[in-house]
Amino acid sequence: MTGVGTQDSGDQPLLAASAISKRYGSLLANDAIDLVIRPGEIHALLGENGAGKSTLVKILYGLIAPDSGQIMWRGAPLVLSGPAEARHHGIAMVFQHFSLFDTLSVVENVALALPPEPLAALSERVYRVSRDYGLDLEPGREVWRLSVGERQRIEIVRCLMQNPKLLILDEPTSVLSPTETSGLFRTLEAIRGEGRSVLYISHKLEEVRVLCRSATVLRHGRKVASCDPSRESAASLARMMVGEDIHDVQVKPHRGDGAERLGVRQLNRASPDPHGTSLADVSFSVRAGEIVGIAGVAGNGQDELFSALSGEVSSLPEAVCIDGQAVGAKGIVARREYGAAFIPEERLGHGAAPGFTLSENVLVSQHGKQGFVRRGVLDRSALRDCLAAIRQRFDVRAGEADPPARALSGGNLQKFIVGRDIMGAPRLVIVAQPTWGVDAGAAAFLRQSLVDLAEQGAAVLVISQDLDELFELSDRIAVLSRGRLSPALPRGQQTRESIGLMMGEAMREVAHAPHA
């Protein structure tokens, strides 16, 4: 890569962290990590879930103080008292878990991160910047009405508007569509061209290979390698992260001649939110032993579909059938009794109660099963045993035996949630974004779990934005766009292009729709 570091300070690193350590109880989250970022480079920070990436960048952003180690910023020692000081020096960060204010509007959320400026002028700027970067936003909308993908866009736009010298992105593309991702990449290239630097955390190794010319790899809190990702293969990068080879998901072709497990007939649901997407005449079925994938860009009715299937909102009784029984008007517990399991997209708050311990979170979704409650009294030891089994089988890593859900890193929490529901041996699984923000090794493991489940005769429905994932897993794939579902065709009859086109078409229409 030429043209990097055109300034006189070209040889001096922008940021050089040395021997950074941070301990949480018995867990050494960061163990003497060194990291050097040069001006005008996009530097990748790689590692499995729980490797300590988020901890390290939070230290660089001043959110948490390291136990030891030092940071040099443009040649001078930097001791951060808090995020305000980091931002003052020109360090901005997009968080893995959102840091937005739900009841405030998009522009208010942006304003809180910038120096004072009249909101009207700022709205204009937010609109323009987001448009320029292909990250469309409506400045006036309140955050709680927005999808996960849209929220992520706010975070990114908010950082870009701060004109940072170093932009830290903690897994920014996990929830972005392919178009949004390529828009972001163009933005990051532009930022790099201006001599700024980016510290980029992602599990999508192909992305990293395209975007980054330098990388630092962490494993279990230690720095294990630094390399030029463009000279590595995705497999060799993954090997550095995990320390061993990642196995491909073993999929046996052609399953799904079993009986219909999930039948959806003309499911209609007007979205209560005027900006939401209403479901229109959605019909499909999932048979025992098959995996059906639903592709689509976030905000095209995925949340509405999931909540209608899980029973969080009810529909006409016949619109949703499990094993031929009309359950459309029944709630989530009743549907679970038919052997269904539901794994939502949002982990903290929806999939798990953040302040509850893991064993309590097991109880919340599995109560009534497996004798966790006896004569109205909780059997804590049975819960702990179950948790230990989940943690062992699904390799959930955390500092303590039974930590609160919020203390887990994103991927470990996802492994826990998926594990919790799969351990109950469900006959029907409906899962949204099963591997969102999960490292390659864990993602392969989670996908294999879903495949195995289908092989054992369960029906599996996967709602995902990740086309690679859907092509790897699904027997049939349908596309959800603007609340309408295309017919679910066998994987062999479709290509990434044909599906991408259907998804993209929908998105372009959305982007050009007049803003209300």
Partner: protein, 305 residues
């Protein structure tokens, strides 16, 4: 005419302390802090205000003393909930109990002392308006101050950057902290403002409403102010409606007893609370968003370092 003027006048005097205390608590709760010590701060304002007014003979100094007494109490609360991240409910209750006790001590030498109520301020021209002009625009200065505070707080919360930061801190203190805002400093200022308002409300009671001191004279008004904040769904403007409903009903119920209406006084006295329940129910039916309690209300904040 005379009787209506008299009733209106007493309603205004009954509503003003409620409004003052409520407007302060609106700001406190918007920052994510639940201060249940309003009653304690209020009664300290009443005792100190009356004591200083008797000693100096100045109503103005009395009012200032009430204000600072409320602030001092709230500083104590802030030290507990911000400095030590103590439980806000327990700290607030303790503050009320402490205030009720301490005010008895402060006010003890002044039991039985008497002074004139604060002079009224007749706004030129406006107080000459026909009908209620003289009542509405011929009030003591604190009534005008209360309304000025409502307008100022409403505008600051909805229109200014300071108000935006206040709302942000109450909505999600972790995010506000991550964006570099000083959560505890914002909350400290909000708590002090709440204390000043409660102290002012107390001084109003002992200097205007009943110009003498008796222990326990706030008689639960601090709690009503807390109910008004919920009734107002954390909006400054709606606090006026709440304060006047609560104040009005408490007065009308007295007059109703005087007229010998067939309705039991207790039923009338319960009206404001019934209204609160109905309003809360109606609010809970609204979609998420503006009418809900601040999401971080009552949660202690300790930045993870």
């Amino acid at each position: 005419m005379m009787i209506f003027e008299a009733i209106l006048l007493t309603i205004i005097t009954a509503a003003t302390p409620l409004l003052l205390a409520a407007i302060g608590e609106v700001v406190v709760e918007r920052s994510g802090v639940l201060n249940l010590g309003v009653e304690g701060m209020m009664i300290m304002g009443a005792a100190s205000g009356f004591a200083v007014a008797i000693l100096t003979g100045s109503s103005l100094l009395g009012v200032m003393a009430g204000l600072f007494a409320g602030m001092a109490m709230s500083l104590l609360f802030a030290a507990l909930v911000l400095g030590l991240a103590a439980n806000q409910v327990a700290s607030g209750l303790a503050l009320t109990i402490f205030g009720l006790g301490l005010s008895g001590l402060v006010g003890f030498p002044f039991v039985g002392a008497k002074r004139e109520a604060m002079a009224h301020l007749y706004l030129p021209y406006l107080s000459d308006l026909p009908f209620f002009g003289r009542v509405i625009f011929g009030q003591d200065p604190l009534v005008y101050i209360a309304f000025a505070l409502v307008v100022a707080v409403a505008l600051i919360i909805s229109r200014t950057r300071a108000g935006l930061i206040l709302r942000a801190v109450g909505e999600n203190h972790h995010s506000a902290h991550a964006l570099g805002h000083n959560v505890r400093q914002v909350r400290l200022l909000a708590i002090l403002f709440g204390g000043a308002c409660a102290g002012l409300a107390g001084a109003y009671l002992s200097l205007v409403y009943t110009p003498f001191w008796t222990p326990g004279m706030t008689a639960g008004r601090g709690w009503i102010a807390l109910a008004i904040v919920v009734f107002a769904s954390w909006r400054a403007g709606r606090a006026v409606i709440g304060a006047y409903i609560f104040g009005g009903v408490s007065i009308l119920q007295l007059h109703a007893q005087g007229f010998g209406l067939g309705v039991p006084a207790q039923a009338l006295a319960a009206l404001p609370y019934l209204t609160t329940i109905i309003v809360l129910f109606a609010l809970s039916r609204l979609p998420r968003g503006s009418s809900r309690a601040p999401a971080c209300l009552g949660q202690p904040f300790l930045p993870a370092r």
